[in-house]
């Protein structure tokens, strides 16, 4: 007979009745992988040279926190209202929403957030003074972005520019119909408010030497852009009715209305050519664009080409000038040769080759060249020059101690957004140098300057999203000024979003790679191991009970969680 232990009988209830929570059992020890919240780089921001934190800002707008979004956007980018008008917005081309109804109108959203934040209250708080002084040579977007970020970091910053007012090509190149002066002026006023001093009409190399600057300042940033005209290289171009495009634009944009021939050929296919042609049209000159490749190869922002065509401007593609025809001291035409497209060149575009014997004359009485500029770097010592560019390494550091560089003179990227991004990056490098006395070993990408942690090694493309959670929602149209009205005025062509439209658009954003507390992880956890943080943003994973199944990672719509190996 089996003897029952009386103690056992005492302990045992009549029926076995469990009243302890399994929470006491640490089933989390079973796992060999564990999920972690890890924001990643959205495809849009990955392609944003200025390094805007797009997904976070869209999330804030979607939640109705419009001012917080505007503050975030302006926190390191001083030119959102400008970029929201002139940026070629590469971000939109990779926007993952393309697979679900069309890219988010990020460009228009930037403009909306920029226009919302002209009040100094939107500026970040300025760090206490470091006592250090920085000179920025060149007041274009690169110089402005560098100066703004350095001033906010507590340094004393002076920008020297040879033009009557700061802005670089934003003021002397990009016309009002794309970027109203008032917008640029308000953004620059904010930069001054952030502590930057602008000294205009001062040309380094003429009015003040680099050595003097290096003595007076703790660091010098060279951001002088491309302002030296390049010759066309054809007979007859020394005629006074053959103009340089950026010089002529500058005169028009700074208010001059020069006597000009009635019909003028505009040679080139970049933004300068488009802006010259469209500006000429607006002051009563009849422009004819002459470009040696086809529309597809034009370096200008495609929307600008379309707008120019809509305004009725005449285009001659696959046409290269060979001679300015001068008769009796007057320009009567531009002799051109027809081109055909051959093999692709280094830029990947098909190289134009002349068709023999195809010469013809485009009847014009003036010519404007818009074939690109190069840098004028004579004020720099030889060692700091590398052909057309400043000799700066990936960190934007030149061989001259304490001299840094940013913008077109470094990258030749030729966009405002790239200039702003480099301005941000050079500011970070100079800040490290001034505060720690040493240079960083590596230059982080501009997104590495965000104040929220993001895994920069992982970009979220549509393949990383969980399509089960997204429905197709079409992209909205933006208002545009009537082409006929445009022909005679410098009024802004593109319209912007209203507040309601901006919120609706932000709600279309998939917020790729960025936790937006959608709660899928929380709801789908079979182990009840995920909890809201309560007051703080986001969730916590209870490591004692998470078994590492990874459903949360799989069901996250936006790839904001990752599975990591458990360290034993």
């Amino acid at each position: 007979m089996v003897e029952l232990n009386p103690k056992y009988l005492e302990d045992l209830p009549l029926t076995s009745y469990s009243d302890n929570s399994t929470e006491l059992l640490r089933t989390g020890t079973w796992k060999y992988v564990q999920p972690t919240y890890e924001d990643k780089l959205p495809a849009c921001s990955h392609l944003c040279p200025a390094g805007n934190d797009i997904s976070k800002a869209m999330d804030l707008v979607a939640r109705g926190q419009l001012d917080a979004a505007a503050r975030l956007w302006r926190s390191a980018n001083p030119l959102p209202a400008t970029l929201g008008r002139v940026c070629p917005h590469p971000c939109e081309s990779e926007c993952n929403r393309n697979a679900f109804g069309g890219a988010i109108a990020i460009h228009a959203m930037e403009r909306f957030l920029g226009d919302r934040s002209f009040d100094p209250a939107f500026l970040p708080e300025r760090a206490p003074s470091t006592g250090k002084k920085v000179a920025v040579v060149g007041g274009g977007p690169a110089g402005i972005a560098a100066a703004y970020n350095l001033a906010l970091a507590g340094h004393g910053v002076e920008v020297l520019d040879d033009k009557p007012a700061p802005g670089g090509y934003l003021r002397t190149g990009i016309p009002d119909y794309r970027l109203p002066r008032e917008i640029l002026d308000r953004e620059i006023a904010l930069v001054e408010h952030a502590g930057v001093t602008f000294t205009c009409g001062t040309r380094v190399g003429r009015d003040v030497g680099l050595d003097e600057l290096r003595e007076r300042f703790d660091a010098v940033i060279v951001a002088v852009g491309f302002h030296r005209a390049r010759p066309l290289g054809v007979p007859g171009e020394d005629h006074p009715h053959v103009f340089n495009g950026v010089e002529l634009l500058e005169r028009i944009l700074l208010g001059e209305r020069p006597e000009l021939p009635r019909r003028m050929a505009v040679v080139g296919g970049g933004n300068t050519a488009m802006d010259v042609a469209r500006s000429l049209l607006r002051i009563g000159v009849e422009p004819v664009v002459v470009y040696r490749r086809s529309k597809l190869e034009m370096p200008a922002i495609p929307a600008e080409v379309d707008e120019a065509m809509a305004e009725g401007i005449e285009f001659n593609f696959l046409t290269a000038p060979s001679r300015v025809v001068v008769e009796d001291g007057r320009v009567t035409g531009l002799e051109c040769v027809k081109m055909k497209l051959g093999e692709p060149d280094e830029s990947g575009r098909r190289r134009p080759v002349p068709v023999e014997g195809s010469e013809f004359v485009v009847p014009v009485d003036g010519v404007v060249t818009a074939i690109g500029e190069s840098a004028d770097l004579e004020f720099l010592p030889e060692a700091a020059r590398d052909g057309w560019r400043v000799a700066a390494d990936a960190r934007l550091v030149t061989p001259e101690e304490g001299v840094f560089a940013a913008g077109d003179v470094v990258s030749g990227a030729g966009t405002v957004t790239a200039a702003v991004g480099e301005g941000r990056r050079v500011a970070a490098v100079v800040h490290t140098w001034l505060t720690r006395g040493s240079l960083p070993d590596e230059a982080p990408p501009v997104q590495g300057l965000w104040d929220r942690p993001v895994n920069l090694d992982r970009t979220v493309y549509v393949e990383q999203l969980n399509p089960a959670y997204f429905t197709e929602v079409p992209r909205p149209e933006l208002p545009e000024l009537d082409p006929v009205e445009r022909r005679s005025s410098f009024a802004e062509v593109m319209g912007g979003f209203t507040e309601a439209e901006a919120v609706a658009e932000a709600r279309r954003c998939l917020v790729c790679g960025t936790c937006n507390e959608c709660c899928n992880c929380l709801y789908f956890c079979p182990d009840v191991a995920i909890a809201r943080r309560g007051d703080a943003f986001g969730f916590d994973i209870d490591a004692d009970h998470c078994k590492g199944c990874g459903i949360c990672v799989e069901e996250c719509p936006r790839d904001a969680l990752s599975l990591m190996e458990v360290k034993s």
């Binding site: 469990s18 399994t22 429905t471 709600r507 959608c518 789908f524 079979p526 078994k547």
Partner: protein, 326 residues
């Protein structure tokens, strides 16, 4: 603070916050049955009693003296889920308590096979219980033996790859429908809002209700743990497991129109289907098409028919139970 994210996209979920299931339970990682219970109790709230027969959940819940649910649970013999729930209901009635929901929670083996007669009896009497069959399509707890819920072509330890299951899955929902109970529905862990709505609806009905919940089982389906919800979603989107509900054995509603994704996408994620030939898959496709024709025909028929005349197993009491606490 929590923001209603349905504003971003209509597919953002919005579920009750309340948790009745606790962590530390014994389910395998990625267990669909654990997720299913968690969601079910979110819907039913704390005034619930649960009856669990032999099945994985009898283990998942924890062994003495631990248990994972913050509501009373009665563990009973394999074949007795429904009759035991009827007994709990009778006991509650004797005590004058009509504010408690009684849920029987059983596996497919315990429902389609061994518990079939007791279930048929309980619903024939229209006992006031919610019977949830969480269907992982085999006897998983005892090591993956075939049940009558195992689908055509599937591998189990008793239907090896050389001779996979040759018969189609038993249509349990239709059998319940033919008992003319007030409410029968299918549900999926991948569609938690739909599932929770159906559980709340069942809770509001005084009479027998049957919910057929499809769940994934990484161990038994030979699938990745992280794919449990994805596979459950594909079961619905391929059309293999339609989401629908039937009132009074007559009124059919399809709750989610599937995308009719290629069934291969679903099959490929599960090792239990790895051996299938193109011929098998073609048979499955033809069956799927036929099942949908049949289902749609029933929707049509239900539209034309009036509700059944008395004596009907209408809810005992027209009044609705208080909605479950959130």
């Amino acid at each position: 603070m929590a923001v209603d994210l349905t504003m971003y996209d209509p597919r953002n979920l919005h579920l009750p916050e309340h948790e009745i299931m606790r962590s530390g339970h014994m389910a395998c990682p990625g267990c669909g049955a654990a997720l299913g219970m968690r969601l079910a109790l979110k819907a039913l709230g704390p005034d619930t009693m649960v009856v669990i027969p032999a099945c994985c959940w009898a283990v998942i819940i924890g062994s003495y003296p631990y248990q994972a649910l913050e509501v009373p649970v009665l563990q009973v013999a394999f074949e007795t889920a429904a009759i035991s729930a009827s007994g709990v209901r009778a006991a509650l009635a004797a005590k004058g308590r009509d504010d408690i929901t009684v849920m029987a929670w059983a596996g497919d083996g315990g429902t389609f096979d061994i518990g079939f007669q007791s279930l048929s009896g309980a619903v024939e009497r229209n006992d006031d219980i919610i019977y949830v069959c969480y269907d992982n399509e085999a006897y998983m707890n005892t090591g993956i033996q075939r049940s009558s819920a195992t689908p055509y072509g599937a591998w189990t330890t008793t239907t090896p790859v050389e001779t996979p299951k040759a018969e189609p899955k038993k249509n349990m929902v239709e059998i319940m429908v033919e008992h003319r109970i007030p409410y029968t529905a299918t549900a999926s862990i991948a569609y938690p809002e739909d599932f929770i709505r159906k559980m709340k609806k069942a809770r509001s009905i005084r009479g027998a209700t049957f919910i057929h919940l499809w769940i994934s089982c990484p161990a038994g389906h030979k699938s990745e743990e992280r794919s449990s919800v994805k596979i459950a979603r594909l079961a619905v989107e391929t059309g293999i497991f339609p989401l629908y509900e039937v009132e009074y054995g007559t009124r059919y509603t399809i709750n989610h129109e599937p995308a009719f994704t290629d069934i291969r996408e679903y099959l490929e994620l599960q090792g239990r289907f790895r051996h299938l030939t193109d011929e098998h898959v073609e048979t499955m496709r033809r069956n799927l098409e036929w099942e949908w024709q049949r289902l749609r025909a029933k929707v049509e028929m239900g539209r034309k028919l009036p509700l059944p005349p008395a004596p009907v197993k209408a809810p005992v009491d027209e009044g609705e139970r208080e909605p479950a606490a959130e």
